[in-house]
């Protein structure tokens, strides 16, 4: 697998180191009589040091040993022999070797650090450039392009898999795939595993060239956004392994970029939503105004005919009264529709205040005085009920709708009861009547929009009333149920009690 060229290159520094030692020997040999042996040792040490700085650790270690050997052979008496006449030279050899090894180690360390710092700087610069390019990216496509271009420079093909924005638990067919290399099923499996576990998946390069072997999850603190799959263009797997710190940095840059794109999209979406909401609100309010104005004229003008002096004939008065009442009914329907539209749009803001529930009982029965006049009202609201936090206008609407239903679906003279009591952590209000009750097979659907209690209703209505009640009660955190009881129907709803604000009692006077 190894070719000749790299091993020859790898051996070259050793040859250079040997040559250096040889040169040193040849250069100092003529000075043998002139210089102290101690100075010659110094020259050899210098050689080792130079080798360490230029050639690295291995060659300099070799130079240290070779230097000791040459010094012994050529300079220590007896010359041209490894024999040592004076035992003291053994100390010289040992020190020379130790100093040579230590200095070679230090010098090599220094040059290694320098090289490392240089490569790190290079890497940082490259990553910085990538970050800058990614910073300008506006779509996942651009991100993939930039990444492909960047990693192409290190002989890697990439495929970027981005999970759908919906987030967690994404099945792999929901990935968007970017890149030139189409992943096969096996690769997809690895990608999915990297995505699900949030860890790097590396495969054995058994499959050969042109197959993704490293799968880096794109992780941001809260979730995994996708996977970066890497396909080496050559089969030099070790090089890919060596690049791994760089690749991890690239993956985290990609994750941050995708996250940024995601939030940019989300911000744009919510801006759209806000303006849609504003549009809807303004349509609703102008609709409400534009419909109410002609209805007001209709009601008023018809009523003028009813009260006209001198009076019209009876038939004309009756007709005018019908027109007036129908216009009222139409207004009622329109208000319900608009209210439901507002409630459904979710744009309703509750204007909650702590107040006794009793307040809206009185105002509701007064609003419906005409309709309720022919029924027997039985109101049981204990005096000592706690205050409840609710929107009086909306809850009045609930109560009015329920009372109206109770009156509409009961014969004249029937009893209508309103019952309030605390039950656990809630206030429970029941509105019931004497009548036929809800049709048993439809009782679960009475709160659905446009649901009517009866298949062919004899009583006018739209099926909005109870749906509105449900929306309002639920907006308050309460529940509402419809049920039949002996002799009639009953709708019960709850409002959470909470803790009313404190109140200082005044001293009696």
């Amino acid at each position: 697998m190894k070719t000749g060229l790299p091993s020859r290159w790898r051996r070259a520094p050793y040859l250079v180191a040997a040559a250096l030692c040889t040169l040193t020997t040849l250069g100092t040999l003529p000075l043998r009589g002139l210089l102290d042996l101690a100075n010659i040792v110094m020259i050899f040490l210098l050689t080792v040091f130079v080798a360490a700085v230029w050639l690295g650790r291995g060659p300099s270690v070799m130079a240290a040993f070779l230097g000791v050997a040459l010094f012994d052979f050529f300079f220590v008496p007896p010359h041209l022999s490894f024999d040592v006449a004076d035992g003291q030279y053994l100390v010289t050899f040992a020190v020379m070797l130790a100093v040579g090894l230590i200095s070679s180690h230090l010098a090599a360390l220094l040059s290694e650090r320098t090289a490392e710092a240089q490569s790190r700087e290079q890497e940082t610069r490259v990553l910085y450039q990538l970050a800058r390019d990614l910073g300008g990216a506006l779509t996942a496509d651009q991100v993939a392009d930039i990444t492909r271009h960047f990693l192409g420079a290190v002989e890697l093909d990439v495929t970027l898999l981005v999970a759908e924005a919906s987030g967690k638990g994404v099945a792999f067919h929901e990935f968007h795939e970017y890149g030139s290399h189409r992943l096969n099923d096996l690769e997809y499996g690895f990608a999915r595993s990297a995505y699900e576990r949030g860890t790097i998946v590396e495969t054995d390069p058994l499959a050969g060239m042109g197959v993704a072997i490293v799968f880096l999850p794109l992780v941001v603190p809260t979730r995994v956004l996708g996977v970066l799959a890497l396909v080496p263009r050559s089969d030099d797997v070790d090089r890919v392994r060596a690049l791994r710190p760089l690749l991890e940095a690239v993956a985290s840059l990609l994750a941050i970029t995708l996250e940024r794109l995601h939030y940019a999209d989300a911000a744009q979406d919510s801006e759209l939503q806000v303006s849609a909401e504003r549009l809807r609100t303004s349509i609703l309010s102008s609709l409400s105004h534009d419909l109410r104005t002609p209805l007001t004229s209709l009601v008023g003008l018809a009523d003028t005919l009813v009260h006209r002096q001198p009076a019209l004939d009876e038939g004309a008065i009756e007709t005018a009264a019908i027109i007036r009442d129908q216009a009222h009914a139409m207004h009622h329907l329109m208000s319900n529709l608009l209210e439901m539209a507002r409630l459904q749009a979710g744009s309703i803001t509750l204007n909650k205040e702590w107040q006794p529930f009793e307040e809206i009982v009185g105002s509701s029965t007064r609003l419906l005085a005409g309709l309720l006049a022919s029924r027997k009202l039985d109101i049981q609201v204990p005096r000592d009920l706690p205050l409840v936090d609710f929107d009086a206008v909306l809850l009045e609407r609930v109560l009015c709708n329920l009372l109206e239903n109770a009156a509409k679906y009961s014969p004249p003279g029937a009893r209508i009861e309103v019952l309030a009591r605390t039950r656990g952590e809630a206030l429970e209000i029941a509105v019931g009547n004497d009548g036929r009750g809800f049709p048993v097979d439809r009782i679960d659907q009475v709160f659905d929009l446009f649901a009517r209690g009866e298949r062919e209703p004899a009583v006018a209505g739209t099926g909005l009333g109870l749906a509105i009640c449900k929306a309002i009660v639920e907006a308050h955190g309460g529940t509402i149920v419809a049920e039949n009881r002996p002799g009639g129907a009953c709708v019960r709803f709850t409002l959470p009690l909470g803790t009313p604000p404190a109140m200082d009692e005044e001293g009696t006077s």
């Binding site: 104005t293 006794p356 009086a392």
Partner: protein, 229 residues
């Protein structure tokens, strides 16, 4: 109205509504002056004696609240607001700025005339308030601070009495929560809306036949209260 002919200015941009309102006013014996814009309404008001202003809040040329503020700086003529049912906030703002009562669209002629009569009566009786008030079986003598029901004296706390007195003094008029709190508890108590509601409840229990269906201390939901004798 018998005493004099009341002059009523109707400020409403919708001609059909203006038409039936003015028609009803004429039948009631009032002189009606029509104004299609706020500017016109203020001009009419400045030109001559008026006893009542009926004002649509949604005018094309001026915000209704501005109209009221403008007018209130130099005129005490009662103002009856015409507004949409769901617009509590507008109503409260109008009442707090100086309007006297409101009517929700669509409204019948009967309702309109009832409000009109109540406001004119208050307007003409201003300055000759009597210390004696009677409603249901309750008698209130403000000069002697005595409240009795069916001939039996009823004890009211200081705050209850003050609240009742404010409401009696503004009989027939809608009083916003804010106004009542300021009048009874003084400024700086606006956070204590629940006090007002509790005290109204107590007054009802002491003075109403059926506190759950009050006939005199009426709730104007989302807006405030009204005393009706």
């Amino acid at each position: 109205m018998n005493e004099t002919t009341a002059r009523v200015i109707v400020v409403e941009d919708e001609p059909q509504i203006r038409r039936f309102v003015c028609d009803a006013l004429r039948r009631e014996g009032c002189a009606s002056i029509e104004a299609a814009t706020a500017r016109q309404g203020l001009d009419e008001l400045a030109r001559g004696k008026a006893d009542l202003v009926i004002l649509d809040l949604g005018l094309p040329d001026m915000n209704g609240i501005e109209f009221i503020r403008d007018m209130r700086s130099w005129s005490a003529v009662p103002i009856l607001i015409l507004s949409a049912r769901s617009a509590e906030r507008d109503k409260i703002a109008a009442l707090d700025t100086g309007a006297d009562d409101y009517l929700c669209k669509p409204f019948g002629v009967g309702e309109l005339l009832a409000r009109l009569r109540a406001l004119l009566r208050r307007h003409w009786q201003a300055g000759e308030a009597s210390p004696l008030h009677r409603f249901g079986d309750v008698e209130v003598d403000l000069s002697r601070r005595i409240v009795s029901r069916g001939g039996v004296e009823i004890h009211l706390t200081q705050i209850e009495y003050r609240l009742l007195a404010v409401m009696l003094a503004n009989s027939g008029k809608v009083l916003t929560h804010r106004y009542l709190i300021r009048e009874v508890w003084g400024p700086g108590h606006s956070e204590q809306g629940h006090y007002l509601r509790i005290y109204v409840g107590r007054l009802r229990q002491k003075l109403e036949m059926d506190p759950t269906q009050p006939q005199h201390l009426l709730t104007e939901t989302g807006v405030g209260y009204r005393f009706q004798s």
